[in-house]
Amino acid sequence: MPSSKDLVYSLHPLEKKVLISAGTGSMADVMAGSGLGEAEVLTGAQMLQQRGLARVNHSGELCFSLSELGKKYLKDGLPEYRLLDELGSGEKKLAEIKSVSKEEISPALGQLRKNNLINVRKDGNDLLISATSAGKSVSSKNPLAFLTAEVPASKLTQEQKNLVAQFKARGLARENLKKSYSLELTKDGIAAKSELKKKDVELIDELTEDVLKNKSWKNKAFRHYDVGISVPVNEVGRRHPVMESNNVIRDVFLEMGFREMSGPIVESAMWNMDVMWIPQDHPARDEQDTFYLDGHSKLDKKLVEKERAMHENGIKRTHTHKGDWSEEVASRRLLRTHSTATSFRTLYRLSEEAKKNGKEIENGKYFYVAHNFRNEKVDATHLSEFFQAEGFIIGDGLSLADLMGFVKEYYSKLGIDKIMFKPTYNPYTEPSMEAHYYDKKLDKWYALINSGIFRPETLEPFGIHKTILAWGMGASRMATLLTGKTSMREITGPTCDFGWLKTRPNLTRSITKR
């Protein structure tokens, strides 16, 4: 709370006017004292309330007034009264009545008969109408008169209340909840008011073009703003955190000299599994894990025969026979389950190109941040579609120690120093290695990288005799780590909250210092 002296500089002109005129509590007095309209006084009062200088008390009361029809009848008289007037003490044929229009006549007759104010008798084809004695003595005063101006419910007599109910039912009167306000200054408000009275300063409220043009700012102060104000910005253009995270991964690869590769999402089982020497009856190939699509892909005939031989015979030991192999199974169309499919496509392409020039495939490093699919039940940590960061290094005489060295360096670029290697099993790498890192915050070891050296059985059909270190990382999982979220649903898909997307902190590279 700034001192009441500072307040003098920061009050809005509207606030000042309201503050000076406030005192009795009545809004009408403030309006009269300040010369402001009701809406302006209310705005000023609410601003003062936000500063803790005043309290605005709301109250509301039901008020009644005439509808357009009611106003018409106030002028012309109610139809039933006009009819009584016309009848006087005589008797008239219905067809001859002039004071009431055709639309009005039957409700008017109904009203009068209900209250026993007229008699109706039949004479041949005519209806004859005359006033009863009660009808003749009805006062000529218009019963709508008490609603000429809006009347609050509290000022109505019981009889008037009954009438209002009738008029409302006939569409002659309407009700309206009328709000009224009173304004009460707080202790600070009273202090501010007396300070303002002592010394008001002329302040420039807004620096406009005019103010600049006529130099009226000279020797004047500007109204002080609440500089701590929080202002939400809605129109924000921004990248999605998953894409931002993917770009972090891309950058790390690029800094380490990797070349980008890419490949199709709609794959064949051949590229997704068979070239990796994954047996055709391997559980990972089941429908429960793989999205198989209708139809079959066209396969490279040359490769088909090489893969068949490799699957049926292996390279070395016959007692480890892997099983029968079918081209039909290999040609099944599917959604890529892992981007290793693209690594193998890339290797095959590079190797075939090199062979055309009579050369062996060149050494190199390749990466891909790719979309993959698993036919799984979706939950907080498993999505059926996800990003994977894939990479391989091809060279002569590379070793498991080199793979470890690479993984260590990669992790260190993501802010991770403490890692542990663990043997595991993949059908297409040997050794196969998980790299766990220690998460200080959660006091837990996590595996983010699965890696290995491609088996000779996977490379022999391509005619590649170099060593290939390969690895994959759950990029979507990495996005959850970098955003500090636990559920994939919070950061992906249609459920992702726009408000969070706009205001979330930018990602940094460090998984451990998030």
């Binding site: 809605n234 129109e235 924000v236 253009g237 921004r238 990248r239 999605h240 894409m243 891309r250 000299g257 990797f258 999402i265 709609v266 009856d281 559980p283 429908e287 699509l293 139809g295 292996g314 390279i315 070395k316 030991r317 480890t320 026979h321 029968d324 490093k365 036919n375 979706v378 999505l383 059926s384 579609e385 290094i393 060279g395 590379l398 070793s399 498991l400 120690a401 470890m404 060295g405 690479f406 260590k408 290697f421 663990k422 043997p423 099993y425 040997e430 050794p431 050296i453 088996r455 059985e457 060593t467 270190l469 898909g493 249609p494 992702c496 909250d497 726009f498 408000g499 997307l501 706009k502």
Partner: protein
Amino acid sequence: MVYVYSRISQLNRGIGRKVPIDQIKNAIIDMGMDIKGQSADADPELKIELTAEKIDLVSGVGIARAIKYYLGLETNVPQYSVKKTGLKLIVEKPAADVRPKIAAAIVRGMKINGEVLKEIIDVQEKIHDSFGRDRKKAAIGIYPLSKIKFPLKYTAEPPDKIMFRPLDHPEEISGSEILKVHETGKKYAHLLEGLKRYPVLRDANDEVLSMPPIINSEDVGKVEEGDSDLFIECTGHNLTHLDNVMKVLVTTLIELGAKAESVKVEYPGGESYELSLDNYEDEIDCEFVNKWIGIKLKPQEMVPLLNKMMYGVKSVKGNKIKLEIPCFRSDVWHDVDIADDVARAYGYNNIKPTFPQIASTASQLEFSLFRERVSESMVSLGFLELYTYMLASTETQYDKMCLKAKEDDYVRLPDSADMGTNMVRTMILPENLTALNINRKNKYPQKVFENGFIVSTNGKDGPVNDACLSVSIADGRANYTKIKGVLDALMSMNGISFEVRKSSHPFLIEGRQADVYVNGKNAGYIGELHPQVIENFGLLVPVACLEINLDTIWAMTSEK
């Protein structure tokens, strides 16, 4: 995943001495298994996760055997023998069309009490679940030997001719009835679906032993406490695979105190099978192992590491090490597998990491850079990037969009595990409209884009994925002019010239929509969303939108 549950006392019995629990656990992890749980009682039970290739570790007995070697408590390669008996199992021709292969053996001298029986059933089930591929690839049958009369006959017969009392059933029923009324029969009925004959194993008295791979006979195929001699068979399609299963199973029973004997299986046409538990002889080059792993061990230093992984070493000559590989190891396909075993014995975390010295220049794909420029352009125009899913539903992609789904227009997901999805999206827009619906309580205007993939069926050799950009403005004042301004700015920023031609998509308002053409090729659409579509997606404000195919635009504008 395959899990083996084993108590510390059981492991210690297999190891042959009491080993501290931490030492046991470390050995399990260093060998490449994982411990997923541990019970809290005085004799803790470990939940051990296996990797898929280690068939010899599917029992507590197998794991204890591996630990014993890994800790160096035993260095001589395991040796098992099989006594020949001359007993026969004749395979008849009809079996060839149904479930052609069977392997068999006998074990004697077991003391089958409750615990041992549980262990045997456990191993049998673990093998069924994993390497047996739920009995499809291998199904094991175990019988009390005393009730069986040799020679046995394995054949296939019409289901109604196979009459016997299956396990846990009160009366004799036929093969076809078993698949209809018996619990196990119903569970595995799919394995015999559509066959005119079912596999059956009979003894010399024509008594039915079992109907593989479904169920044994209650009368002659039920092992009970107190039994000591067992007949074991395994059926499937590939004899090498069955042999590997038999080797694991029989050596496990030998570890539990049995002696193995053979049964000669004779196939029509002269082929035969008889179980052998002889180890495999092989040779490895020490230098190859050093290079593959990145270590520098002399052959003599490698010998104890090989012993730790249960290999026997017969001789060392120069860099060549002559090996004996245990008969139950069916996962040693190549020298690299032996190299990996050496690395596990050495300890992965004892290997000194070295950075791979491969020189190369980094590069990005031109198309990736283009897609990235497009996203950055959209951000600069004040749009929020979304990432929605490619797996979609015909309801969202067609019905709500007022479009009619034609089977050839999209890629179906015939076996989706998620009830909500049955196709791969052909447009990004409907998925973004869903996001706008979920976010309808958030502030407006909502200006969003997604630079993602769709799958179209227009590819040369079947379905292909295309990169597309979808942009939506949801706001009380969203209209064609606003979205056209965005398209103009985006195209200008990326140096793409285009034209628009009037279109009539049912999901856009007639007269306020157009197709976008780049170099004469249709590359997408732009327009105001039809009120019916706005209503279908439960939105409350007008939406102006566009979607363009970035693959098409790239193909039409990049120089070749």
